[in-house]
Symmetry: C2
Subunit: 418 residues, 2 copies
């Protein structure tokens, strides 16, 4: 069989398995997740052995230390994957839940029932733990899943696939409910993106290049975010101590992630008082500052920002700083350079807080809190499958509920339409 | 300017107008809708005059009487468009509404606020009333809209576009919030489907050919349904009088629509008692029956169904009939030939009703009610924008809420991430 045929067969088997997994009780699905966790711990040595094959090849290919770090499955990785699965097993199952029932004038009772999406394809890069995390979330939400990890992690991912298959079988469920594509060939991605008959959703997780490739080639709906160019706007009415703490946390606590602060916007009325203090603290933590000319008038020894800085997602200890006339100017800057990801205001003014919340276009908008809270766990969704910055279906962090949809259920007593 | 440039400019202006319309109060938007209704009535003579140009051309081109009927704007069409707009103006506005607020352990208050999707593209066929109905729903839900009707209705649609523009302007809002593409050239559709930078959603309304063309060419997410192959399953425990009334209503009340019954599935235990009575009633109403061999054993003078009948969407007074062994066989038939649209069971058995509701894959699943209730108005959504049979974002009839999405709003008091 060629690759296209292999993928088509995997997809068609996934669809059959999806019908089975969609009907499982939460108990059955939780048994699979805890069996996966147990097997990961019991077979850790074998996983390390398979992971070493990937690591040796990566070293021989001269991959960077950072890449090799991401690829490594350690005792800690195993413990964290197992703990994650047990946590997801403990979450409430959205499948089958219904909201309010409406009674129509003719007596029909109408409600909406949560159901799985069907088959989800996940395309990701080097971290092997995504294989386990994504499979856990998809199975818990009653979906079948087809996983395609980075080619450099092929042995690790195949080993993890073996664990998932055993866990499914131990619970009497089809192993086809969670499959890992067994080839390094990139054609497999194109083939997967063409299975619109069997696959209901594609979620790419990785760099912007991967995501743009997936969007350009997919015939299947894609949930995605390209990048996070996040802002904090310090209003003239802000508590400046609070503003400093929020900006510092948003930039420094974990600079390499999509919800980290990239550009600080400061109201002109407080710039003189606020900027020197926050700059001192940022620079003490190793943050490079790049400011507009009004910022440089207050902080003469920093770099002048160029036009390339405003749309930049540094993912690093670099911060762009801009002094703005007022909140309108801040919101115009965000509308132009933001990425619909995460935007925050620090203010003590009621009207501005409400206007910022309503009018700023982002998946998460915060008042007086760090941008780092755009995270499924922090916002109460439990573990997340990524963050969507496209508005259709899901906007913001995607938890179990975002891996489902709702159908209408209608209970009658013989009603017909007049 | 060539067509691609014209469309790009329309799309980019729509995006700017979307920011304005997204911030309007319900009062402002309702004023636009009622102004549209008033202008339709005041300028009816001019609309008839423009419509006559389309009708004359259609007659000269030899279009069918049915096509010409769909194209005609009558006094009744005007009255119905105006009444529809006033009805939508009276609906609750979803924009800005928030559900429950969750309190996180650190005191953050997290809620989800409904926001418009942005710019919606609607591609449809001959009926000019869609121009008004779709514009009304998009504007009320705070979206900008680009409308592309059938080329045979170009004069009528341009006249209606003039009405919409005047109504927007009379309320002090940008006319670019609702634009009708002013050319008959089909290249305009391709150009619109490529505006992924400006357009957030495409909704095609029309025949399967149009919808497949849109899906194949769009770089923008599409909400669609291809067809409705709807079933009624008459269980052995059914009240047979109720089953007959439901099947008759589902088939005959309006056979040309997507939620009409196409295949009747009958449990073998009641076939002998049920089929002769329902067949008599159907045939008296002019319905042609096509049955499986077990059906023919009971109704020897009807046509034998072929393999082409089971997946058929007749949209006509034709009904396929199949006798099945049990509910499992009925559900297997639906899983194979259904179109995820509307499926109904008639039963008095608690367990079967619940299993059918849970396990059947359709946007609307009914117990003891006619399939004709898959309709936004009937299910309590108000006017609808069409019915989605793809699961992402919306599944089933789409009302105002389905033209919005939700962002997270987070209220803090200085929280930072540990």
């Amino acid at each position: 069989m060629d690759i296209a045929q292999t993928i088509q067969q995997m997809a068609s088997e996934a669809k059959k398995a999806a019908a089975v997994i969609s009907r499982c009780t939460s108990d059955q699905k939780n048994r699979v997740l805890t069996a996966m966790a147990d097997l990961l711990e019991q077979q850790a040595e074998w996983i390390f052995q398979e992971n070493r094959k990937d690591l040796e090849r990566a070293a021989a290919a001269g991959l960077s230390a950072a890449m090799i770090d991401r690829l490594t499955v350690s005792e800690k990785t195993i413990a964290s994957m197992a703990a994650g699965l047990r946590e997801v097993a403990a979450y409430a199952d959205p499948v089958g839940t219904m909201g309010e029932t409406q009674i129509r004038p003719n007596g029909l009772r109408v409600a909406r029932m949560r159901i799985p999406l069907g088959v989800i394809g996940i395309i990701y890069e080097s971290r092997p733990n995504v294989t386990i995390d994504a499979a856990g979330l998809c199975l818990k939400s009653g979906n079948a899943v087809i996983l395609r990890g980075g080619s450099e992690a092929i042995h690790s991912n195949q080993a993890l696939a073996g664990i998932i298959a055993k866990a499914l079988e131990s619970a009497g469920l089809p192993a086809q409910a969670a499959q890992v594509i067994p080839t390094e060939d990139r054609q497999a991605i194109n083939a997967l993106l063409a299975q619109e008959e069997y696959v209901d959703l594609i979620i790419p997780r990785g760099g912007e290049g991967l995501i743009r490739f997936v969007v350009a080639h997919s015939k299947i709906p894609v949930l995605k975010h390209y990048k996070g160019v996040c802002h904090v706007f310090v209003d003239e009415s802000a508590d400046l101590g609070m503003a400093e703490a929020i900006a510092f946390n948003a930039k420094v606590q974990r600079p390499g992630v999509c919800n980290a602060l990239e550009t600080l916007l400061v109201h002109q009325a407080v710039a003189e008082k606020f900027l020197p203090a926050v700059a001192r603290r940022m620079r003490a933590a190793g943050v490079e500052l790049r400011g507009c000319d009004r910022t440089l008038a207050l902080l003469p020894d920093i770099t002048l920002a160029t036009e390339a800085d405003w749309p930049a997602e540094y993912l690093d200890l670099i911060l762009a700083v801009k002094v703005v006339d007022d909140m309108d100017a801040a919101m115009a800057h965000i509308a132009r350079f933001g990425s619909s990801h995460t935007e925050a205001i620090v203010t003590s003014d009621y009207h501005r807080s409400q206007r910022f919340l309503r009018e700023v276009d982002a998946s998460v908008v915060l008042v007086n809190a760090s941008t780092r809270f755009n995270d499924g766990g922090q916002l109460g969704l439990g573990a997340e499958m990524g963050i969507s910055t496209s508005k259709l279906h899901a906007f913001g962090p995607m938890g179990l509920e975002e891996l489902t949809t709702r159908k209408f259920v209608v209970l009658g007593d013989g009603q017909v339409r007049e």
